[in-house]
Symmetry: C2
């Protein structure tokens, strides 16, 4: 594989504001001209009953891969017999400058952790994988620390660490 797209993880308990923060981060990175891919892993079953009702009927009828192409996007749903891992999903997200991945806790990519004051527990992330901490109060670890509104500063960090380097290569 010739892929060298940088991968950054986003970790945090449900309700920590991950989705809203990620939206802001995407807007920041897009505004700087980067092509952004996002992968979310969920442990819940995902039933495709919309959009493209007919299309998902085909998936339920047994089709292994179902694609719905419209004027400005293509959706592809692919079935797996055993749970797909990052190694299955990452190659599907090509043509981007950066991949932000949420879930797949065991991946060893650098991770941004989002903390919420009301949620005292924190995900267990090895300190060597911790790229930054966002929200809550300043962490004990010696890593960059930002507020939930600081998407621009986090974009700076990602740009400096992963994107400018990869552009020079």
């Amino acid at each position: 594989m010739k892929r060298a797209v940088p991968v950054v993880g986003l970790a945090g308990y449900s309700g920590s504001g991950k989705t809203t923060f990620l939206e802001k981060l995407i807007v920041e990175l897009k505004g700087r001209g980067y092509r952004v891919g996002v992968i979310k892993h969920t442990s819940h079953p995902v039933e495709f009953d919309k959009p493209g009702k007919d299309t998902w009927r085909h998936a339920r009828a047994g089709a292994d891969v179902v694609a719905l192409a419209s004027r400005d996007n293509v959706a592809v749903v692919r079935k797996y017999k055993s749970a797909p891992g990052p190694e299955d999903v990452l190659p599907l997200v090509d043509g981007v400058d950066l991949i932000i991945i949420e879930g797949f806790k065991k991946g060893s990519w650098p991770k941004i952790e989002i903390i919420r004051d009301e949620v005292p527990e924190r995900p267990t992330i090895p300190v060597e994988e911790l790229l930054a901490v966002i929200g809550g109060s300043a962490p004990q670890e010696d890593v960059p620390f930002y507020g939930l509104e600081d998407a621009a500063a986090v974009a700076d960090l990602i740009e400096q660490q992963f994107l400018k380097k990869s552009r020079q290569v």
Copy 2:
């Protein structure tokens, strides 16, 4: 590209019973052990507001590629600046023995046409691309003709013409 997956088109006006017929055809082909991919092209805009609400929020925030991985499937939505054509979509449907494609009328793959008695107009398909006609009354063209219930016979035809050959290669 090393792809040699056979492609069969399915054509017919809305309301001709395409979706129901295709469901039956998929079940037939899956029952024979083939891996089936389905592509549908729609001229309508497709807004991904479900499933994986968060995921589609990321797409709307500007992410170029968004993937949602669950225990047994992966959905990937990819944005295009200009309308994606078959050459964009076909390579996304890999790992299958056969691709059935609906829409993309200009593709030159062999086509199965579905006719409904109540809909007298027929899609304009060059006779050399017409693999079979299904439903309605017997067509003037000298091509195999089946009823809407004859998914097994159509699977036989596809198997003989495209799948057994490709297995021998």
